[in-house]
Amino acid sequence: MSGIESGQTPNRARAAGFRAALFFAFWLAISGWKAADLPVGLMAAAAATWASLALMPPTGAQVRPRALAALALHFLRGSVVAGFDVARRALGRKLDLNPGFVTAPLRLPPGAARDAFCALASLAPGSLPVEIDGDTVLIHCLDIKQPVAKNLAAQETLFMRTFHDE
């Protein structure tokens, strides 16, 4: 992946600190903040950070908090719409389905970011990425008359704005 070789140490240290803080926050959420438990929590967060760095080396990508909030809101709204969409199609007297496949180009390079984006896209209404081939993704749609590829491109722009390289 790009950007690992140059300036590896500061990137790595910063990514490690960021992830350790996230994991410690998750520990507090599931385990509580009793003083006696904190050393164990710190050790657990350290172990989780070690595993995370080993499994997903930092790429130097940065997160814009405000764009992240916008992205989260977008996908929450998307998953509500998706739920209603499925409910409407399932409960209608006649099944309102027009399923089929659509291919769409992907701008994100292969890697963790692209995988995460596809996971988010599978929560969007009527679309389910099933196969990635090179730089295109094959999407199964409940209704191929919907502008699935266009929506996907808009989501990808939002996603790339949130996680940007330095």
């Binding site: 992830r19 998750f26 657990a44 989780a48 499994l55 963790a112």
Partner: protein, 315 residues
Amino acid sequence: MSVLQILDVGLALLVLAVAVWTIAAREIFGAVVGYVAYGLLLSLVWIRLFAPDVALTEAAIGSGVTGVLLVTSGARLKGAGKASAAAKPSLSLRLSAAALSLLAAAALAGVILALPDPGPTLAPEARQHLAATGLGNPVTAVLIAWRSFDTMLEKIVLALAVVGVWSVASDLYWGGAPAPLGRANPQGALLLLEQTLVPLGILVGVHIFWVGADAPGGAFQAGAILAAMWMIVMIARVSEPPPVNSRWLRLALVAGPAVFIVAGLAGLGMAGYFFAYPDGFAKPIILFIEAFMLLTIAATLPVLVAGPPRRSFRP
């Protein structure tokens, strides 16, 4: 009947229906999925029986290690199913199997119906002496303090199970590694799952281990969760099953029972009898033993799933 009773009866009927389906299913994979569903419903039942420790074990083992083991073997058996289906057992064999099952079921029902009411219990006594261990969770106290010998033997059984699985290996591959758990070129969604779930799983595992002293949880449940995390790393082909003659692996496999035995012997020396914990030190000693059991369980379960060595030591 109150709503709660209706819910309980409905849950029990559902569990029974899924159990019958699992037994009666003709399709191997249908039976496997039925069994996974059955395990999930059982953990709901354990919650209704106010046994969260057991519910946690069922959830961690059933959807993690056994789920993967059964689904994988189900798919393999299906691939090899054509040959075995031809060798259908004879009618007399099937009838005697049915008679034997009926007999066993009747005997079990008889024992349960003959139980005294209220049943014999040591629960009040366990609660009364809980303070002496420094623990807050009576289940952990029973497992590691009062019935420590049983628990130690259970861990030795786990080690014996590994020996049993490994002994199936052919001489050619002895000392080598088991076959890879996953397929080459894992897809993005699997990698995403592995990259995000494993760190979170470590946190959840350590949490469940740590609260086990005072609340539902403990080494076995936590070990099963950590084992699942190691398994998903191997399924994603980020790491491979270690060779069976790896020193680290073998140390991890025996660490739990070994530390347990050493602690028991230390009790003999310091407090007068096997597995006596000196006053005031019970809790730290118990947590120390549990930490090594956690390691052993987390290492043993994936090794059992990975199976005997299938690749030579130095390819």
